[in-house]
Symmetry: D2
Subunit: 328 residues, 4 copies
């Protein structure tokens, strides 16, 4: 490996996700392993524009592999969308002697990084960190697997009550634009129906499906609803609709909310984060830039940032069919 | 022990709570141990009025000690509040040869049981099962300890996000009339403020407290709000108020909802349920009736049902003070 | 699909694994969906030879998707290795009118199934269920992902003590012949060293590595050791060796044992089990036999049983390198 | 309150326990609340003799309430048992201007503290932190409740395997001198037998009990064995004994080990730690010394250290009876 890179910065940006700390740790340790200096940037692009930096060595990241959130903190930045903002950031990087950046985040993070790279020819590599799994070029984003377990455990708890009271529950899970969480959690928790942004099931089919479910002897039901479900009704409106259109249903609603983002990462996410961090740093060392590292067929591969942003992460339609069969 | 009781019925009623299954198991096994027949009644007083019974032996309750919810299912019954409903129930009990009832539930359950006892002189003993801990005559109701752990784990997850983004979170927890969950969880999760039904803190003090918290260097804050908080504003209204009255706060809301009721019971709740079930059955065998079993100073004691219903479960004011000190 | 299959039997055999119940559920529900009868066989091949069968319908498998172990129970059978034993089994299947079998288990289970298929031309499809992930033809066996999380959580707990006391811990995890669990858990828990059956690190390197680890400022260390580690020393012998050859080390040992096999399956394992069950039943319906369903590049694919048995599941050597870098 | 105390030191000593960090946090924040300076002492009495101190303020203890282990680290010290060692410690305290000590630990910690107090008339207050619950003067030591949940969850997992294979498991849990963990976990996990240091059940009764258990239709069994069980046989010897004296048993052994000490504290332990820390600091402020704070009848009370050390923590014999009834 050629090694013109002497100092690498790392930041987390956008919504936090479990595994971000494990990725930070991996970037820092890989730098240490290759005798590259490493600098943590606080609060994403905000801190980049303020020069809110901290030198990090191998010991700076001990005991964080199993922590949710991000020790570098995260933020969404409007100012970085301006040329002036990015110029500020560039100056801080040059002053600090930083040669390249590892960006941990999602779509927005990568878009910012790509523009920054184009304007200043500054080397950047992205690591996909978001529970939504909505990034092209990786089968799993950091935090997705953990979020699935967190949500499934919560739904298991709600099912205790649903079963005890013969109730119908609408449970809203994260996923404004994509149904990955809803789809996997729906199958994993044995939900009777799954409503996602990608498919308009229609209210009639929902009601029909619930009727069939009850006739088949089920005394309680769980419907998993992605935030951005195509039907376009909130879980509260769905409850009202069922209350009006079906008799003898005791319908309840639960919005799982922010707890879905937190918690200790799963083993899968920790391992994935460790692998991605190594690949990100070593790719920069090899002179590569403007790529995202991702998991493709269980290998860590590079995808151009542009593709990662523009490509569409597709849901596994097989899962919809599996879900339908399981709801028999 | 005199032993005129030959057959005991057991039911769960009202909201389900972790530990109810462990209590059912204990009642059934204690009956088996003393060669008393045991009959499970489904869906609380509903099933009682319908004669929805099932003979249970020691093996009927295997592998349920660690399950949330209630295998006997639960319901709230309007009809049992009528004399006719209770007469129906009495007839089923006599026909089935049942001599006494163990009632697992809360206030409403016990009120029904007490009236039933008065009208038909039918022996009943109550076991307090509700996550709210709002029953007089026991320091802990079944499910309370489990719910505290469930909620604290959820708040821990939300704090990951709060800390990563420097946010303020209002988190609504169960407790319409009492603040036990909010108070303990507030202290246990290190919340900055705790809003409960028993005390009107006032919005001004809340804002003041949050300002102080920020000045002292805290970058994120958690406020735990009981459903029935005295201020009388929902978590969403609290968010709006802070949005309007404080600058530079990124305020979010999370309503934990029904997941608080479910899950595998804690060791404490399993042990408590086991002890309570033994005491309930053996008290009936000793000819006692119209009592609730409860935990007082770590011993299982009897309290007359009437007292249990009318008495007021008081929150530990020391905890409010501890909370204030911890928020330093 | 042609549909000559009218009745399918399903059994679990060998060591139990989280996700087996989810797979049973999927097989039963997929049968119900396609109007095929389904029969559960108890205790694996033991029950097959005894005709210990139970008719199962869609409701028989409710509330088991999140349960560890197997409701059909499992066993290892010597008698099924004899021609007489298998003949007994065949007769029971014919008498019961069962047309095909779904076998959930590992190597031994599949070997039995393949021989049975050859002798009696009886259709069989295997589903890989074992926490060890030691089956060729699938990137993940059922239970593997859950076991990783279980072990990582246990190691996290031990690290609390290790860090508090500046100790070195040798932790033995499952894996007699393969190091998948050790390798992933080692990376996921941030272990300083990982000892696996596939590589002989040598005791000298281990001691060297621990010395370096301490010099770099680490005050505590975790070494993950697979049961069948190539060095050939038990964790207790490793402790003795370090006690003798290194000064000032407070060395402890923990053998995680059987708890690694149990627990509620992760979302990943539940989804995988659901997908595999559908594929197994539908493959039988399509006239396929003597295959194993497996996960390859995130798709469910078929591999001939013979290949699945003879092929070698390889560890990801990249992970060894990642582990070394992370231990910086 | 009189307030001659200006600076308080806090240390953790002996085996670590969940809740110790929450107690440290409480001591530090209570000091801050009362404008008392606070100094953390590293590695218990070892650090005291070396002057390994660190000034702590309210922000030093953020985000530790939910962490297992102890950020101040712990150690067992031989030198502090000598007069010279204690003199060293005293000099460091005087030099640093520390007026009083809060000691978090168990028997050994308190013995050291009491002697130190006698020799130098130096104010000390103890907080009982140990998972064993073997301290007189408190119904619960810090970490006990958490350990119960940790162990019960592990036993639940093992039961998955036990049930699936119709096995008998001997599970060793912590408790060299006292059976609190074994007794509570035995009842909480539905064990068939519980072997503790306080009672010699005898091997014959054990075998008899297991036979009866099997005859009653149980297909699998769990026996919980405290480390210091009175029978005096290790779990491995127990297995051998049953292997030799009972037919058709598939007996396995699991030693849970150090994972029992770790993990995030339960809500109960966090609240208890918070209350104890407040009481410890405020007692010192009131001029009290040589006491231990403890939980008695749900109130925080003081017990003279001497009594806490010499008194005997008694197991709840009612639980043994409950266990026997539950094993019906």
């Amino acid at each position: 490996m050629s090694n013109k890179i002497k100092k690498i910065g790392v930041l987390t940006s956008g919504g936090d996700a479990p595994g971000m700390n494990a990725a930070i740790r991996s970037v820092v340790r890989t730098c240490a392993y290759h005798n590259i200096e490493c600098v943590g940037v606080y609060r994403g692009y905000e801190g980049l524009m303020e020069g809110d930096f901290k030198e990090m060595n191998a010991r700076s990241v001990k005991d964080i592999i199993n922590k949710g959130g991000t020790i570098l903190k995260s933020a969404r930045s409007k100012e970085f969308r301006t040329k002036e903002g990015r110029k500020l950031a560039y100056n801080h990087l040059i002053n600090k002697g930083i040669d390249a950046l590892v960006l941990i985040g999602g779509d927005g993070t990568f878009t910012g990084g790509m523009i920054f790279n184009e304007e200043f020819n500054f080397p950047v590599i992205g690591i996909p960190g978001t529970i939504d799994n909505d990034i092209y070029g990786t089968s799993h984003t950091l935090g997705f697997d953990t979020a699935l377990n967190t949500v499934v455990e919560a739904v298991d708890k709600i099912r205790d009550t649903a079963s005890s009271h013969n109730r119908l529950f609408f449970i809203e899970v994260m996923g404004r634009d994509v149904g990955h969480i809803a789809l996997n959690v729906g199958v994993g928790s044995g939900a009777e129906e799954i409503l996602i942004p990608e498919e308009d099931l229609g209210l009639d089919r929902l009601v029909e499906s619930l009727r069939r479910s009850r006739q088949s002897g089920k005394s309680s039901s769980i419907v998993i609803v992605a935030e951005g479900d195509k039907i376009g009704k909130s879980v509260f409106e769905l409850k009202d609709y069922v209350d009006e259109n079906m008799e003898n249903y005791d319908v309840r609603v639960s919005v799982l909310g922010h707890m879905q983002r937190g918690g200790a990462p799963s083993c899968f996410d920790r391992v994935l984060a460790s692998r991605m961090g190594v690949k990100a740093v070593e790719s920069l060392m090899e002179g590569k830039t403007n790529y995202m590292v991702g998991l493709l067929n269980n290998e860590i591969e590079l995808t151009p940032l542009e593709k990662a942003i523009k490509g569409k992460s597709k849901i596994n339609l097989e899962l919809l069919r599996v879900s339908e069969i399981m709801a028999t």
